[in-house]
Every structure is written in structure tokens, then in C-alpha cells.
């Protein structure tokens, strides 16, 4: 139980190790930070032999607790040059944890040009030849694996990862065995591609070992009841994350036409309510609610069908609607869904792609609102044309190539669908996150605060970041944490019952603080200074016209967030 599987892609050796004691009482993102800090030279080339790709299971991953089996993947990022962890739903982490694995560390790069996939069975791991799968999209690869191993769980890259695009993500199968869940951010797919690993295929299934079944059952009952009864659960189940489109627009912070405005005239067309309506009317394979992993009560996902009821994409989510929709001046769900589906198959982050195309549109490559042109640009990413390769390397590279200075990115990574001039706490998170612009590092969207005020935003972001670091180390979904709130004792009860520990809430908070400190330490050793944690001038000098607002949280306040986390 709690083994670490180490795979060297040069020697092709796979070894099982006892996880060191110092790693045992952390998991997911926290474990990734610890391993990277100890084993990876922070100044290393992200696509070179000294970087490592880590899959880490959370402290509750593999259990039947709702929404607790997200797959956490981390590495030094080729996009930001700093530490990166990106987590996603799906079934792979659950299966790996059930096989007794706490982490997989993939290291080195191969000396030959051969591709492999990693086959994980109970107590056995092998590298299997994968040259015949090179060039395949994620869907075709998963289908091939399912034909070979019908009950497997697969996590893989598409052509974007093979070509080592900085915006390449890693796809994980959902419970319907489709590679729809994405560790999209930071170019982790490129790191996997640099190691010539097409996928990880988990063959066997085992029941998870629970140390104290009675206590676990009691804690699980309370946990399940809280999530079931939370109004937010009903909201996610009906509207999904798309509900956020209207809110962001109401706050004046929905990205429109490469973040040149925060209000979209056609908001009704891309609202959560309209998404629900269209899916309902079209019927067929469409579903307004859908779980990405077994046992999830929240079921925020959906299946978006075409006019004939055939699936275009699953899920269609807010960040994608914002970046590939309003940010490109596109208000048509069908076009957004088609681009989303292509991105999933190519294996590329929809946020980075939408931001890069937005920059390209400002640079004159296409007109805002031209859905056909946007689709063509996504296809070019998949085809690997020169322009496609530029876009596939993200918004910053696209801006440099095209001479566009209004680039919505922090430390190399594109902003998600919240303008930091309208939602300033989110701007603090973008600026101070060691992962570049990342809303999941500490979203302040739901805070009842004057969102355009500068006051209190740094403190708000800091507190949110601390809470998220707990959740990410458990393998938990942020939407479950929204229901659980600050009931950290309940989480501790679940952890203790699962592992047979006597952890307390204080220790859980220590994990959070250590995680963030480790991440900042890695970046510091990689060459980041406090002055790197800033919002670009495109947002501090350029006013958001609908609110007449700039991002003006003081540099000293941003710096203090970093100082506080480091100490």
C-alpha cells in the first residue's frame, strides 16, 4: 500500500519503492511539490532529461467519497518555467490508488526514437511499444487501448503532446471511457511527449483498503449528506459551470475579443440557461448533467449534442465557453463545442488555445466573431502547420510572433475567463500563484466583496489559496469543497479512517502551508523573484472600458502574499 512506482524511460526499468515517511502524510499537489523540490533541479530544461513527470494520488483518492479521485499531474512547466500541477477528474487516479500506488514518477528521456505506453497491472508495470499509435488523437488511442484491454483506465497525450507544444495537456478517461477530462494547464502533455510516453493504461482493479471501516462509514455518511443537500450541488447538476458566464458578465469581467471588454452583447446565447435549454431540446445523447468519475454526486459535467442528438463534446464548460467563445467574439455553442472537441482530441488546453487565438485575432490573423476561421486555426494546431505550432505554444509566443502586446497571461500561462481588472482578487491569484495565471489556485469569484476594489483582495486571495492547497492534496474536487466549506474536521475524519491515522485539522493546515511554500521555493530556485509575480501592463495600464477599471492592487501587497507564503 502507498507505493511509489518509478519508471525510467531511458533504461525502460519500472521499480516499486516504499514511499518515504516524509511523503506519507501529504498527497496530490502537495506530494508533487515535495518530489519536485527534492528530485528535480529547478533550473532544468522542462523538456530535457532532468525533468520528471509525476502522477500523485490524493489522501482520499480511490475511496468511494464523492468527487475525491482527481488525478494530479505535475512537473516543471515548459510554459511557465516554474512548478506545475494540473488536476482533472476521470477514472485513472481512482484505479491507481486502488492498486496501492501513491505516486508514479516518470524520469529521464529515451536515447532512441521509440514510443511506449505504460501498462500498469497489480504489482507489475511494463513499457509497451507504442510507435503504431503516434499521431493518433486521444480518442482513437483510447479506443485502441479499450480494444486491447476492455476494462482499462487510460490517461494519454495527443499530437500536441507528441510535438511538445507548450500548451499540450494530458487527457484522462471519464467514467464513460472517453478521454474528456484534462490536466490541461502548463504544458504537461509536452513533458510526457518529451519522454515519448503516449499513455498510461491501468489494467487491474482492486478494492481500496480502509483502515477503520466503521469510522469511515460514519464520516462518509455525513460527507455525502452535506454534498447532497448543498444548494450548490443542485446548481452544478442543472446549470453546470456554464452558470458562471452570466455572473462574470454581470461583474463586467467576461473576456471579450482578447480581453478588450468584459461585457458580451450576446451573453444570453452562451449562458448556462441556454446551454441547458439547447441540450434538453436536442435530446439524443445530450445530457445536462453527467458525472466524470464513479460515485460523484455533484455531476457538474454535461454532454453537448449536435442537432441530430450526436455528441459533439463532453463536457462543455465555462472556461472553454469564455476563452473559445466570448474571448473570440463567438456566441455559437456548436462552434465552441466543435473547437473544444478538436482540442480534446489534439490534446491541447482550451484556455491557452482560446487565449492564443484571441491574440492571433488581434494580430489580424482572423476577425473576432469568425467561427469558421477560429475552427480552422484549431485544426492548424492539430495539423502542425507553422501557424498551428505558434498557437500551440500558447498566448505569449503567439503575441511575440505577431507583435501583439495585449497578451492575457501571467508568467507565461494564459488567464482563465475572469478579467483581473473586474475581479481583482482573481488577479491577485493570477499574479501570486507559482503556476502562472490559474483560477483554480485560489478563486475569489464567489466572495461577497466589491470585486473592483483593491482593498482586501490580497488577503482574500491568500486565504483562498490556503484552502485550495488542502483540497488539492486530498484529490478532492473544488465543487465538493464548496459544499463542505470549512468543515475541515470532517475531511480529517475521512483521512484518518481511510489510513488509520490520528491527524488533526492543524496538521491538514500544515500540509497546505508546506505545499505552497514548497512550490514557491521551487520557483525561487528556478530563478523567480518577487518581481516576477505581477500582472502584465496590458491589464495595469489598459483600462477595461465597461468598468473603467485597471488592475491596481499594489505591488507591495502582491509581494507580501509571496513573502507570507514563503515564511
Amino acid at each position: 500500500m502507498d507505493k511509489t512506482l518509478r519508471i525510467n524511460v531511458r533504461t525502460k526499468e519500472a521499480t516499486y519503492e516504499n514511499t518515504p515517511d516524509e511523503y506519507l502524510k501529504t498527497g496530490g499537489r502537495g506530494l508533487i511539490a515535495k518530489i519536485l523540490l527534492k528530485e528535480v533541479k529547478p533550473t532544468c530544461e522542462p523538456l530535457g532529461r532532468n525533468n520528471k513527470l509525476i502522477f500523485a494520488m490524493g489522501l482520499l483518492t480511490g475511496t468511494n467519497a464523492s468527487s475525491a479521485s482527481r488525478v494530479c499531474i505535475g512537473s516543471k512547466s515548459p510554459l511557465t518555467g516554474g512548478i506545475k500541477e494540473s488536476n482533472a477528474g476521470g477514472i485513472t487516479a481512482m484505479r491507481l490508488a486502488q492498486l496501492g500506488l501513491k505516486a508514479i514518477i516518470i524520469e529521464d528521456i529515451p536515447e532512441d526514437d521509440k514510443w511506449y505506453y505504460i501498462k500498469v497491472e497489480k504489482d507489475k508495470c511494463t513499457l509497451e511499444p507504442a510507435d503504431q499509435y503516434v499521431g493518433m488523437g486521444t480518442f482513437e488511442f483510447c479506443q485502441e487501448m479499450l480494444e486491447k484491454y476492455p476494462d482499462s483506465a487510460v490517461t494519454c497525450i495527443g499530437p500536441a503532446g507528441e510535438r511538445q507544444y507548450s500548451a499540450a495537456g494530458i487527457a484522462t478517461m471519464d467514467k464513460d471511457k472517453k478521454p474528456n477530462r484534462y490536466s490541461g494547464r502548463g504544458g504537461l502533455g509536452a513533458v510526457m511527449g518529451s519522454k515519448k510516453i503516449k499513455g498510461i493504461v491501468v489494467i487491474d482493479k482492486e478494492p481500496i483498503k480502509i483502515a477503520d471501516k466503521k469510522k469511515y462509514k460514519e464520516a462518509l455518511k455525513e460527507y455525502t449528506s452535506i454534498i447532497n443537500e448543498a444548494p450548490s450541488t443542485l446548481g452544478y447538476k442543472t446549470l453546470g459551470t456554464a452558470a458562471t458566464a452570466r455572473l462574470s458578465n454581470s461583474l463586467g469581467g467576461l473576456p471579450v475579443n482578447n480581453f478588450s471588454s468584459g461585457e458580451f452583447k450576446e451573453i444570453e446565447q452562451i449562458s448556462g440557461e441556454n446551454l441547458y435549454k439547447v441540450i434538453q431540446e436536442r435530446g439524443g445523447e445530450g445530457k445536462t448533467s453527467h458525472a466524470c468519475m464513479p460515485g460523484c454526486i455533484i455531476q457538474c459535467s454535461n454532454i453537448y449534442p449536435d442537432k441530430e442528438g450526436k455528441t459533439i463534446v463532453s463536457p462543455l464548460e465555462y472556461e472553454t465557453i469564455g476563452l473559445l467563445g466570448s474571448n473570440l467574439g463567438i456566441a455559437d455553442f456548436d462552434t465552441i463545442a466543435k473547437m473544444n472537441s478538436l482540442c480534446n482530441d489534439i490534446g491541447i488546453d482550451t484556455i491557452e488555445t482560446g487565449a492564443a487565438i484571441g491574440v492571433a485575432m488581434e494580430g489580424g490573423i482572423a476577425k473576432f466573431g469568425d467561427g469558421e476561421a477560429a475552427l480552422r486555426l484549431v485544426k492548424e494546431i492539430g495539423e502542425g502547420t507553422i501557424l498551428g505550432r505558434v498557437l500551440g505554444n500558447g498566448a505569449v509566443i503567439t503575441g511575440k510572433v505577431l507583435g501583439v502586446i495585449n497578451v492575457p497571461a501571467v508568467n507565461g500561462q494564459a488567464m482563465p475567463a475572469y478579467d483581473p481588472r473586474a475581479i481583482k482578487g482573481m488577479g491577485v491569484t493570477y499574479a501570486t500563484s507559482p503556476m502562472g495565471a490559474d483560477h483554480t489556485y485560489g478563486s475569489t469569484l464567489k466572495a461577497k466583496i466589491e470585486q473592483t476594489s483593491t482593498e482586501g483582495q490580497a488577503e482574500l486571495s491568500k486565504n483562498t489559496q490556503k484552502n485550495v492547497a488542502i483540497i488539492d492534496s486530498l484529490g478532492l474536487c473544488l465543487f465538493a469543497s464548496g459544499a463542505i466549506g470549512n468543515n475541515h474536521q470532517l475531511l480529517v475524519d475521512l483521512i484518518n479512517a481511510r489510513h488509520g491515522w490520528d491527524m488533526d485539522v492543524k496538521e491538514l493546515k500544515r500540509i497546505s502551508e508546506e505545499t505552497i511554500r514548497d512550490e514557491h521555493r521551487f520557483n525561487e530556485l528556478a530563478g523567480f523573484s518577487i518581481e516576477n509575480y505581477r500582472i502584465p501592463e496590458a491589464f495595469t495600464e489598459r483600462e477595461l472600458p465597461n468598468l473603467k477599471s485597471k488592475f491596481d492592487v499594489r505591488d507591495e501587497d502582491l509581494g507580501q502574499v509571496i513573502v507570507d507564503f514563503k515564511n
Binding site: L234, L239, T241, A243, T244, L247, E317, Y318, L478
Partner: protein, 74 residues
């Protein structure tokens, strides 16, 4: 009369159940939340008879409305 449930987190940390007299037959969801003095940016969505509806949806008598708290993006 319409039945309105306002989820915990929309106004404060309490849930509110309200019976609302529908005097104006042309009232929309947007009018209703304005009348209830609820800040639009504190609402994640509104369910009318269990289904999400746009703010310009007109309300019929004897309806059931659920005002949801804020949801996050994904």
C-alpha cells in the same frame, strides 16, 4: 402566490422560504429579484419549476422558484 426558496449563501448564511403575492402578472425573474432586493451578482442561477431559466422569463402564479448560490467555473 408563488413559493420562493432562496438558498443559503445568496443573502446571508441562512435559507429563506418566502410566499410571494403575485400582483403584477407580467413580472419576470429579473423584476422579482429586484423586488426582493437581491444582488444579481450573488446569484448562481434561478430554477423555475426545477429548470434553469433566463432572467427575462415571466413568472406564472403558483410557480416554485429556487434561487441558487454562486457557482464556480471549471
Amino acid at each position: 402566490m408563488i413559493k420562493i426558496k432562496i438558498a443559503m449563501g445568496v443573502i446571508d448564511e441562512k435559507q429563506y422560504d418566502i410566499d410571494y403575492d403575485l400582483i403584477d402578472k407580467d413580472i419576470t425573474l429579473e423584476d422579482l429579484i429586484a423586488d426582493l432586493k437581491i444582488n444579481k451578482t450573488h446569484i448562481g442561477g434561478i430554477l423555475l419549476e426545477g429548470k434553469p431559466k433566463r432572467l427575462d422569463e415571466k413568472i406564472k402564479d403558483n410557480s416554485e422558484i429556487y434561487i441558487l448560490p454562486l457557482l464556480g467555473g471549471g
